[in-house]
Amino acid sequence: MIRVEDVSVGYEGRPVLRRLSFQVHPGEFVGLLGPNGSGKTTLIHALAGLLAPQEGRIFLNGEPLAALSSRRRARTVAVVPQATDIRFPFSCLEIVLMGRYPHQRRAFSLTEADLAAALWAMRETTTEAFADRPVTDISGGERQRVIIARALAQQPAVLLLDEATSSLDVRKKVEIFELLSRLNREGLTVICALHDLNLAALYCRRLMFLKGGRLLEDGPTETVFTAATLERVYDTPMEVILHPGYGRPFALTLPLHPAAPARAASGGVP
């Protein structure tokens, strides 16, 4: 579905990602992890065609991404960017309906199918309650869910999320990831960049670790989510334990100072 071949990409003269190669198959749920500045956002932007690779090529369903028209690309790939501020008081429904743009013919041909798709997306993200409220009047977390609804209204095959849930509280985060999981089981390919290691371990079936613009590790969550990998990626002492009930790995961050483990050994960690 997505094939990245030897891609280097960055901003004017400053390469961020160097010679990346990987494939993502339909129906995968990929977590993109790495410290700040490791290139997660850049990779999302490259996969969305916003940044053209300086070297190498990206293919979408076998076609070069750069050769697709903007609308065709947006019918296949939808993006939820990092929390953004919107200045114009469009109603939330109007914002979600903008997700129908790549499906619409010229001019103002908003069909009932478009409306139905938008309403479906709003129900899935529990945003119907503020359909008529101006997007400038709702909270940051609510706005982010409206943007997720807009991406779903695009009815994409691939959904890219860039720290999309960082501004949400725990409950809303989990709700969004439950929704992504369900849509993923129904066939949606999900690639999400995130900082929350345990959320990634809980929901993503494949993890890619970026550091300094290179792909450090890439594989099934069970195999790559290890203390050794995490310590190497984040330069932070870590421990990974298996949750007794769920059988999913969980990461514990340990203090940086060497004195700490001694206290831990004497029963500091329950």
Binding site: Y11, E12, A48, G49, L50, S69, S70, R71, R72, R73, A74, R75, A78, V79, P81, T84, I86, R87, F88, P89, F90, S91, L93, E94, I95, M98, G99, Y101, P102, Q104, A107, F108, E112, L115, A116, L119, W120, R123, E128, A131, D132, P134, T136, D137, R150, A151, Q154
Partner: protein, 362 residues
């Protein structure tokens, strides 16, 4: 089954709300059109020379070819040649400036953007004034070169402002208006210099910098119309994209808008409107700033509707501003219309700014 029923119910409710929204929009357009028609007639009556309803009716009927001419030549010239043409021109210029303003605001995500604050108007005036200085006259296929000079100047000033406010590949909102004011002030000074060198009267300088419809007529309507039409058609085609672009460049790209091309077309469209307006009436501020804000507050930010409302509202505003400019001073003296729009628009915009800030929208 319950879920499906709930779904169609929600859809029905939404469709109903949208129908109501469309009715509100239609009502607003009707209201503004009615007010516009009324204003044209009233503004034609206002002036030193009294115009009777009968004379106006007779002239109109004659011009539409529905009745033979019955009024004397002088009355006809005053009503048709001077007043009507001027009122129509003011309306067209107002529509152009307000639509250009709404485009600049949406495209540059800046509530303070308009042809005047961005320096585009002054750029246009400079271009036109430079052509006059160089003595470029004549016409190309019946088109005067004046609007072309204004267009070159407008595009030049816009490019300069966008370049000046660009930092690391992004247009900075804070610097945009600052750059616009710097460019505008500099070009105003250049216009004054050009006009002084040309030993033209002070009134020529005032015309370009403060704007005026004094002595303008059907010729100028003819000059403006091709620019206005081209600009409006270009912009009208991309009303939906303008909505999306108002969320920012990245969002627009992700939603499938061909950002670079669409933005270029819209900037050119808005520059065409500005250049046409400036070439016939000089620099008139505040119309492009205040009218879009009022219309957005009234019926929301969707550009498909906003463009129509701004066209009508801009026409209405400038017709009355010009009527005031003609009639405010005793003894037949005229004020530059830009003075009137600034006098009315300045405090009004300040009020908008305060109330909007209070509601936390900008």
């Amino acid at each position: 089954m319950g879920a499906v029923a709930g779904e169609s119910e929600a859809l029905a409710r939404t469709l109903d709300r949208r129908r109501r929204g469309r009715r509100r929009f239609a009502a607003a357009v009707l209201l503004l059109s009615g007010a516009l028609a009324l204003s044209v007639v009233l503004a034609v009556r206002l002036g030193r020379l009294e115009v009777t309803w009968e004379a106006m009716g007779a002239v109109l009927l004659a011009k539409l070819g529905w009745a033979p001419a019955t009024v004397d030549r002088t009355t006809e010239v005053v009503i048709w040649g001077i007043r009507f043409s001027r009122v129509i021109l003011a309306g067209l210029v107002g529509a152009c400036l307000a639509v250009a303003g709404v485009v600049f605001q949406g495209l540059l995500l800046n509530p303070l953007a308009d042809p005047f604050t961005l320096g585009v108007s002054t750029g246009g005036a400079f271009g036109a004034a430079l052509l006059v200085l160089l003595g470029v006259g004549g016409s190309f296929w019946g088109l005067s070169p004046l609007p072309l000079g204004a267009l070159a100047g407008a595009l030049g000033a816009l490019s300069a402002v966008l370049l000046l406010s660009r930092e690391a590949g992004r247009i900075r909102k804070e610097t945009l208006i600052l750059a616009g004011i710097v460019v505008s002030t500099f070009l105003s000074a250049l216009i004054s210099l050009i006009k002084s060198l040309d030993e033209e009267s002070l009134s020529a300088i005032v015309f370009w910098i403060m704007g005026s419809f004094s002595g303008r007529g059907w010729v100028h309507v003819g000059l403006l119309v091709p620019y206005a039409l081209t600009g409006l058609v270009l912009i009208g085609r991309y009303a939906r994209e303008l909505d999306i672009l108002a969320l920012g460049e990245e969002h627009s790209h992700f939603l499938g808008v061909a950002v670079t091309r669409v933005r270029l077309v819209l900037l050119i469209g808005a520059s065409l409107l500005t250049a046409g307006a400036v070439a016939v009436s000089g620099v008139i501020g505040f119309v492009g700033l205040v009218v879009p804000h009022v219309m957005r507050m009234w019926l929301g930010p969707a550009h498909g509707r906003l463009l129509w409302l701004c066209g009508l509202g801009g026409a209405l505003t400038l017709i009355w501003a010009d009527a005031l400019a003609r009639n405010l001073l005793a003894g037949g003296m005229e004020l530059p219309v830009g003075v009137v729009t600034a006098l009315l628009g300045g405090p009004f915009f300040f009020y908008l700014l305060k109330t909007r800030r209070a509601r936390g929208i900008w």
